[in-house]
Symmetry: C2
Subunit: 206 residues, 2 copies
């Protein structure tokens, strides 16, 4: 199934708005009203939802609980997924703090580092393990997602090693574009680029 | 000056690649070669750089140090900028860990919270202050950037208060779209949405 980047980016936003509606006690919504609160046209909403095998009947609006469940399945967050963090420095620790916080359906099982001072310690109750244990840990714990949280210069070699260990998806916080083989995916998180964008917009304002 | 979102997003990427070139001892580069390593066409590179008042002479390539300095000025990261973090919970603390790490030109001066158990403590040597001190702190310390790191339900009211205090730019980690008046800017960081995108791509792969 080909799905455009624009739609992929909108799916989590649908979940966010559907959660808000449920919290407000709303259980059914038209494409018109959903479009209005999300800043989309009704036909965009219908098209997005149809992309994944439609739900709801013409003229009746969408049943929100079903729609939410459907989108969660499409995204793959209907079941918890195991993750590991490669790098137990400031960035890795920060991510533990962040991901440990959510009800997100993602479990961070361990951090990995090669610094003997860190191995055996815990960050927010998550253990820091030796990189020597990476391969066995990944295969024993059904881990397919790795978070790259190391300095840029180590990112590609860690990525290569994780690929060999069976990792299929990389959430990449290092400021490099990872080279993957065909059978893996990555999404970059460019925090410093995001902050620089803000700075630019601020400068334009003044 | 109108600058498209696409160009704004590319500017930090230019900085990242120019830094890599300088680290490799390269001091001059053609639009051709710069485009190649960045995955852009030479004419896109020339157009981007011309948007901000060109630099370099036809046929000579760009002097990298000058170009970098120029882009830093355009972005507004040529001088350090003061920031505060609104919310000293998991997310706020994670961001301190992250921003404290960089050589980014951004200084995090303080976190603000209304939890008396947190006020007076430190996160990575950055003080946690009472929200009661927000207005005086912002005006005494030339702070124009605030990081929203509170739960979604408090984000807009904290934003409103920070706007009144003189904040002009919001780096927003809360999963809401902030309503600003005309004279302020914001950039959203949607970490959970980014992770859900990764999950979706992983699911498509399998």
């Amino acid at each position: 199934m080909y799905v455009s980047d624009a739609v992929i980016k909108r799916l989590p936003t649908y979940l966010r708005y559907l959660d808000m509606l449920l919290a407000d006690g709303v259980y059914r919504i038209s494409s018109n009203d959903l479009g209005k609160i999300m800043g989309l046209t009704p036909s965009q909403v219908r098209q997005d939802i149809n992309t994944f095998g439609g739900i709801g009947r013409q003229g009746y609006g969408y049943p929100i609980i079903d729609l939410k469940k459907h989108i969660e399945e499409v995204i793959g967050v209907d079941k918890p997924q195991n993750m590991i963090i490669l790098g137990a420095g400031n960035i890795g620790s920060a991510i533990v703090g962040y991901t440990g916080f959510g009800d997100s359906g993602f479990n961070t099982l361990a951090l990995f580092d090669n610094d003997v001072a860190k191995i055996g310690t815990f960050v927010n109750n998550i253990p820091v393990k030796s990189l020597d244990d990476l391969e066995s840990f990944v295969s024993n714990n059904d881990v397919r997602i790795a978070i790259i949280a190391c300095p840029a210069k180590f990112a590609q070699s860690l990525c290569d090693r994780a690929l060999s260990a069976g990792i299929k998806a990389f959430w990449n916080f290092a400021p490099v574009d990872l080279k993957l083989n065909g059978n893996a995916v990555s999404v970059n998180v460019s925090l410093s680029e995001s902050l620089q964008q803000l700075s630019f917009r601020l400068k334009q304002l003044i």
